[in-house]
Symmetry: C2
Subunit: 389 residues, 2 copies
């Protein structure tokens, strides 16, 4: 088991940068989980977890968590599963970032309902190759993410795995029923908006994958150069992984440490905009737009030139010889918000920093259409986009 | 991938019996998941799921489920993770029983709070070896279990796995706050009760493991007898697995198709008993007693002779040359309820069918004690029991 571990600063920000990245060929921690036992592990986890949200009545320590809702509020529940090798690669994701990202992804679903997250249940299945310190780091990441939005860790499950690491996050939120925004409320002529920019996390993972390949090549070179296994190991252990992230810091951070856009929810409330539909962009803009169109029974028309893309994303797409719009449409892990607002709210959302108008809702018979920079029209597909017939 | 698949009757009861068990050496279904696509799979799952619980406002189909609680009720949330090879073995657990059992296990946690389950979020991570029909069978099991207790499937996650199958069930329930029973309320002189009987599911898994070994031996014999791979395969494919479950049906059923004891919760309400503490027995009586003693700050004294054990369990323990009490104390998967009631409720619970008095709560300094049939005293441990010092 090989992975990169960054010496994480204990500052609030878990910034990834090109320095201080150390390659470890195996885990070399003090204590393994079986030494501590299940009771001990749960005690260790729960002793560091305090609850603070007023809707939390009882957290960890019983068969179920107990949660209050104010008289006029409903409870929202969402659950996400993250599998090693599918959703994350421990070669370049450390446990703290994994905890942070999975918690943020779960909160993102609650924000996408125009609600505020309040509780989190954290389940993790670990194989024996993990140490107690890994679990600590994972929960540290979860707590940092939850702490940003006053979300209490109120329960979960800690179990063994014979194979890969598996994480399930269940996030609970509350909102007044009238405040909730579903996927199904978009109407003809509504404006389509996205927060932030798209495709950066996707380019981030391309870079991390490339750096992983470079590192694996170095290992293969050592294995070819030295036949003695001991000497091989010595050289591999001494390998310092020093990936070149200069000028790509934003992309790496977007991939490893995404932020759920609760701030956008707050902004919309402040400016008095109540979206007609909303979804978070976890699987790519195209796929999420299709969800809104399907749930709302409508079509949409978005403009390639309006899709918000960061400069670093554009440079990286060029470097990888990838189509930038495809990256923005289909690249996952953005965790931005996609929402529609009535046309009457145009003045409230246009030119608003961090919110970009990318098109408008149409009647269902027009389908989901992308208008390219050269005014060609393409039919959007859940994955990819194809020439309109 | 080898496993046993039973032709499941579509009757309400998914009884396992010795007949009709067919061994399949591989999956031979019509449709694989990638053919259907993620959108198609989610549509397929959700189209068969109807909600009926009045507290369910919106189920599958958005970023989060929306749940109401009555004005004076609180919401309870519990989550459980089940990993292939750790919690279940697909060699002898089919997908329908897996769905049924994992859903029952999740509901059991809500019952253990003296609450009624109302919603379920179902997450499953599948590798490419599974077919759409497997997913259908899994959800069929989930729905049968949930249907028994009027629980709505309101969401979840369906994702890929590179390795084993992983399932996470999140169960939501509601109760008036005053009704809730925690682990922490047991007091000196309270009576300790358990529902049903213990150790049967543990003996069930011993039998299934033995049958699996027998079957694997048959395969090895064929492999030794025939050198030609084609002929080997033909004989292995033709192998009919016919395990001897006669007289052990109860044990097999307890392992593969446990029932969460909502009926006991209803009985306790009917007879006017409000437990002072409660927990469900998923990891063995000893471990759960320790949880109650720790949470309540008390000791306990239970009597070996009072531990309820089924006749089939006793016979099987004899057959496997195992200590019966150890099986009942430490065997998992019982999903019975362990609870304490005030001594004043003695007349209400004694001689009540399906409820067994096994001991009483003591002051903390006495520890957790098992009194054996020959009046020796042992200190209970979370796993196993050791001579008292």
């Amino acid at each position: 088991m090989t992975r990169l571990i960054k010496r994480l600063s204990h500052s609030k920000k878990l910034a990834w940068c090109k320095s201080n990245i150390i390659l470890k060929n195996d885990f070399s921690f003090d204590m393994n989980i079986s030494e501590l036992g299940e009771f001990g592990l749960i005690d260790r986890i729960s002793s560091n977890i305090k609850t603070m949200n007023p809707s939390t009545k009882t957290g960890i320590g019983d068969d179920a968590a107990i949660i209050f809702a104010n008289g006029d509020e409903v409870t929202l529940v969402s659950t996400d599963m993250f599998m090693e090798g599918i959703h994350f690669n421990l070669v370049y994701v450390d446990m703290m970032h994994l905890g942070y990202k999975t918690a943020m992804a779960a909160m993102s679903d609650i924000f996408a309902m125009n609600a505020m997250p309040s509780q989190m249940l954290v389940s993790i299945a670990l194989s024996h190759r993990f140490a107690v310190e890994d679990v600590d780091a994972f929960y540290d990441g979860v707590k940092r993410a939850c702490g940003k939005w006053n979300v209490d860790v109120v329960g979960g499950d800690t179990t063994s795995s014979l194979t890969g690491l598996a994480v399930t996050m269940t996030c609970i939120g509350h909102a007044k029923e009238a405040e909730i925004v579903k996927r199904s409320g978009a109407k003809d002529t509504d404006l389509i908006c996205v927060s932030g920019d798209l495709g950066a996390a996707y380019m981030g993972v391309q870079i991390l994958e490339r750096e992983k390949s470079v590192y694996y090549q170095q290992i293969r070179d050592i294995q070819q150069k030295y036949s003695d296994k001991e000497i091989q190991k010595k050289h591999i252990d001494a390998l310092l992984f020093n990936p070149e992230f200069s000028g790509k810091e934003y992309l790496i951070e977007r991939q490893l440490q995404p932020e759920a856009r609760g701030d956008v929810i707050n902004t919309l409330r402040e400016i008095g905009v109540h979206p007609t539909s909303m979804i978070d962009i976890s699987d790519g803009l195209a796929s999420e737009l299709m969800h809104i169109c399907k749930a709302s029974g409508c079509g949409c028309r978005i403009f390639e030139k309006s899709i918000p893309i960061d400069y670093q994303t554009a440079v990286a797409a060029e470097e990888f010889n990838m189509n930038l719009t495809t990256c923005a449409l289909n690249g996952g892990d953005d965790y931005e918000l996609l929402f529609t607002v009535p046309i009457g709210d145009l003045s409230k959302v246009e030119n608003r920093e961090g919110i970009k108008l990318i098109g408008h809702i149409t009647k269902p018979q027009y389908g989901a259409v992308l208008v390219t920079r050269d005014d060609n029209e393409f039919q959007l597909k859940a994955q990819g986009w194809h020439e309109k017939k």
